[in-house]
């Protein structure tokens, strides 16, 4: 079941992405509405992170496109914020919490400018929202997992974006942080922001979010919770890969054939 929406915040059109010639996303096509908390669910290796990276145009696509607010990503980067997985950076890096949050204020056109007062104020507000104001001067190497995640979210908040793409914001955080992040997300939603995030826990996902994208290399379902969240969708999503699709993927790699002409 794939529910397309009118005037979507994000439209993913016929997107195929492969690594080493093997497609990890195959003909994915969906749209999500503005002002919702959308959750991408799928097993490990189902292409969730790749989906977000492809939307941000960080990996090459074989086919298809993604549009945010009906525009190419390069035209709306100022309105879009991306939160990579916490484990993707080296937390031994010599930086303070404030330094990292200030990076959220960097833009393509201000990279050679000095950091302004507004930037600092914005960063402080963002830190306050995630409950980390007291830690502004703390070195990032001394943070716990939950605190690291809060810092990443503060960095995103400092961007003052309209659309947020979050890769596993709840991975490996303590219960208090999970609650804090969830409240923050709801607050953002109430302010009209759109959020697409990856989550790994089916039970809490059902409780937390209102729109779902089920993914396992191919798109399985996309739509509002009441419509798409079902036993059948879950078993289709988590019931393993389509063996035929996997075989064809292997064949593409082995014969070095293109996935698109």
């Amino acid at each position: 079941m794939i529910i397309q929406v009118e005037n979507p915040a994000l439209e993913v059109h016929d997107m195929t992405v492969s690594y080493d010639r093997r497609p990890v996303l195959w003909g994915v096509d969906f749209s999500i509405p503005k002002g919702h908390l959308t959750c991408v669910l799928g097993p490990n290796g189902s292409g969730k992170t790749t989906l977000i990276k492809a939307i941000m145009d960080l990996v090459p696509k074989n086919s298809g496109y993604a549009k945010i607010f009906d525009q190419d990503i390069d035209d709306v980067r100022d309105k879009v914020s991306y939160i990579p997985q916490r484990g993707s950076v080296d937390w031994d890096f010599p930086a303070s919490v404030m330094d990292v949050v200030l990076m959220g204020r960097y833009k393509k056109n201000n990279i050679f400018n000095r950091i302004s007062r507004t930037d600092r104020i914005n960063a402080e507000i963002a830190l306050e929202k995630v409950g980390m104001k007291a830690f502004a001067k703390r070195q990032i190497s001394q943070l716990s997992g939950g605190q690291q995640q809060r810092v990443f979210i503060a960095r995103a908040l400092a961007q003052e974006a309209e659309f947020y793409l979050m890769d596993e914001p709840f991975a490996g955080v303590d219960a208090a942080t999970e609650n804090a992040i969830l409240n923050l997300l709801k607050e953002m939603k109430d302010e009209g922001k759109t959020i697409l995030l990856i989550h790994h826990d089916i039970q809490t996902a059902y409780d937390y979010f209102d729109w779902f994208v089920f993914l396992n290399t191919r798109l399985i379902a996309s739509g509002p919770k009441e419509t798409v969240f079902s036993e059948k969708t879950l078993s289709d999503t988590y019931g393993g890969k389509l063996s035929l699709l996997t075989t064809v993927g292997e064949l593409l790699k082995e014969k070095k054939l293109p996935v698109r002409e």
Binding site: W26, G27, D29, R218
Partner: protein, 428 residues
């Protein structure tokens, strides 16, 4: 040519020991280097090679001798210390492995140069000749040297034969080796001992700076030709021995040509050729396969176009002009005529006065591709939830990929459907 025969026949006694010595050294290095390469620890060898210099100098200062055995003993000790310090730095600080290797490499080497210049500036300078270790002194390998080298080669080969299985396991799948309770640390220790040994003697051939290449490059070249560790080891030995003999020959026949750097240049060129031409992995062979694929795809697309033209008036074996085909599908004119002629040679098309028609084999081949296309479209809509108007492009590519086995699976899975998502007929 005469010099080459003199050289290779080992008739000249000085070149005889040089050749045998170099071959022994390259065997050592490429054997242990293969394991370092597979374990993704290529550059540790570089650090060790630079770190043997202070050991040689210290041994010389302490014992006032140029006895190779003693110098190499010193070399092995500081080489070994550099591995230890890399482990110590990465284990006990936040310095990452790459910087730790760089620190060990440059600081040990600096110590070596300090000692070397102290020796050179002192009274014992005239007879030391230790600076040969910087770039190797292959041309002056003697009979006694060869004896030492042979012992080292024997030890290394024996160790590798004895521990072949565990070495293989920790090279390809260290986690698995740990999980089955293999004493991985112990085998790593043995490997590092033979690595240090091979480097300590190997610097005689190419010197400390280029030693890393003697370890890594033959292994990398060999890896491109095979997945079998045994064959890879043999190939690595062959590659480095060719480089060794070649380098020795060049410096033997031309004046002023250093042996070590030529050995490395020859080995590197073999490696570059392997990266380019090795079947399957080489860049050129990949390009060749892709070129072949493109040709195949073109032919199949032309056949399909003939079928589609025929589908319109329901007569598939009519004569068609090239323009009819071009009206149906875009091809560049030269590509089309090239493809048409190739198909004729394969007996899939027949030609009369610049008009073409499908042969009966051509027709069944065209039907097969069309069938695959339509089956795949149906599969995409049913199993990948892709809308009917989005499946065509995908099927255009995948129709060229599907094998008869997959076709059979698709037919069974979709229960021998009669029409595709667009209502077109699927013919069997």
């Amino acid at each position: 040519m005469g010099t080459f025969i003199d050289f290779i026949s080992l008739s000249d006694p000085t070149s005889r020991y040089v050749i045998i010595g170099i071959i022994l050294l390259t065997i050592n290095a490429s054997l242990v280097g293969s394991f370092a390469f597979l374990r993704k620890k290529s550059l540790i060898g570089d650090a060790v090679a630079h770190s043997v210099l202070p050991g040689i100098c210290l041994a010389f200062l302490l014992f006032q001798t140029k006895n190779l055995f003693i110098l190499l003993g010193g070399a092995a000790i500081t080489g070994w210390l550099s591995i230890l310090s890399i482990d110590l730095i990465t284990a006990h600080s936040r310095i990452k492995a790459d910087a730790a290797i760089g620190i060990a490499l440059s600081v040990f080497f600096a110590l070596g140069i300090v000692l070397l210049t102290i020796i050179q500036n002192s009274a014992i300078a005239s007879q030391s000749g230790l600076d040969h270790f910087l770039f190797g002194k292959a041309a002056s390998i003697t009979r006694d040297d060869v004896r030492y080298f042979a012992i080292v080669t024997l030890i290394i080969t024996a160790v590798i034969i004895i521990f072949y299985k565990p070495f293989k396991l920790i090279s390809f799948n260290q986690d698995f080796a740990v999980s089955i309770g293999l004493p991985v640390r112990f085998y790593e220790f043995i490997l590092s001992i033979i690595t240090v040994m091979s480097i300590a003697v190997g610097i005689q051939a190419v010197g400390v700076v280029l030693m890393a290449a003697l370890l890594i490059t033959p292994a990398a070249a060999a890896r491109y030709w095979t997945n079998d560790l045994r064959i890879m080891l043999i190939l690595a030995v062959v590659v480095s021995a060719i480089g060794g003999v070649g380098g020795a020959y060049i410096s033997y026949s031309a004046t002023n040509m250093p042996t070590g750097p030529w050995i490395i240049v020859i080995i590197s060129c073999i490696a570059f050729l392997s990266f380019a031409f090795a079947p399957n992995r080489g860049i050129v062979s990949k390009m060749w396969i892709q070129y072949q694929n493109r040709k195949q795809i073109l032919l199949e697309n032309i056949l399909k176009a003939f079928y589609h033209v025929g589908e319109k008036d329901n007569s598939f074996l009519e004569m068609r002009k090239p323009e009819d085909i071009l009206n149906r599908r875009e091809f560049s004119f030269s590509k089309l005529s090239e493809g048409l002629n190739k198909l004729k040679r394969k007996g899939l098309l027949e030609k009369q006065n610049n008009e073409w028609k499908l042969s009966s084999e051509g027709l069944s081949e065209a039907k097969r591709i069309i069938r695959l296309h339509r089956l795949w479209e149906l599969y995409l809509t049913q199993y990948l939830n892709i809308a009917e108007d989005h499946v065509h492009d995908d099927a255009e590519a995948i129709e060229h990929v599907l094998t008869p086995e997959i076709e059979a699976q698709l037919e069974k899975l979709l229960d021998f459907p009669s029409t595709d998502p667009h209502g077109k007929e699927i013919i069997y």
